[in-house]
Symmetry: C2
């Protein structure tokens, strides 16, 4: 079915090494340190496979576009710093899904994005 390739492995290594949501360019750049020939199209194709396999999760951030993070983490949300542009994970969830769902609707999932200034930029 799926064959092991050094390319896919390199991409997974990037996520094992850097534990935060990553964009295509960052994945490509870091992945090339392992496999110099690593191609953009290959990265796109493998990200798709890894998302389908449930190994990665695709997240759509309003200000930075599509990013990918390891799947299987505890339910969490994200904080985007408007100063340094980094995306942080926020543990826990203070969102009441039930009380926000309109009558008759069924909520299966939700996402929350916070924007502001992170603690290092605030200094």
């Amino acid at each position: 079915m799926k064959r092991k390739t050094s390319q896919r492995n390199a991409i997974q290594e990037v996520f094992r090494k850097i534990d935060r949501p990553l964009g295509i360019n960052e994945i490509l750049e870091v992945g090339r340190r392992s496999v110099g020939s690593l191609n953009q199209a290959t990265v796109y194709r493998n990200l798709k496979i890894l998302v389908e396999k449930g190994w990665l999760k695709k997240i759509h951030t309003p200000e930075r576009g599509v990013l990918y993070e390891r799947a299987g983490k505890e339910h969490h949300h994200h904080f985007q710093c408007r100063s340094c542009d980094r995306l942080f994970e926020i543990t826990g969830c203070a969102f009441n899904e039930k009380s926000s769902t309109p009558p008759g609707f069924i909520t299966e999932d939700h996402e929350v994005y916070l924007y502001g200034i992170c603690s290092s930029c605030r200094q």
Copy 2:
């Protein structure tokens, strides 16, 4: 500074007529009923102007990309139906910004997206 044009007026009319978040194609299509020559580039340019003027708000939905809605509404969030793909406004907000903000961080704003099945699709 800014001149009145039939094109910009047509775009605003679309939002007065249809009270929900709209994408570029929908705006273009409906706007052309008023101004047949209405061009894509003009729509993009005017949406930008209207956002800067504070008349529109740009929203980035994870599944449908960039949409625009009238600004000045009460704080609210959105519900995306996975069956009919429509985007609904949810009044009120059951999100506790303060308790979700990591120590030392400053949250200026937040967005919430719910996904699920709307009441009409559920029938």
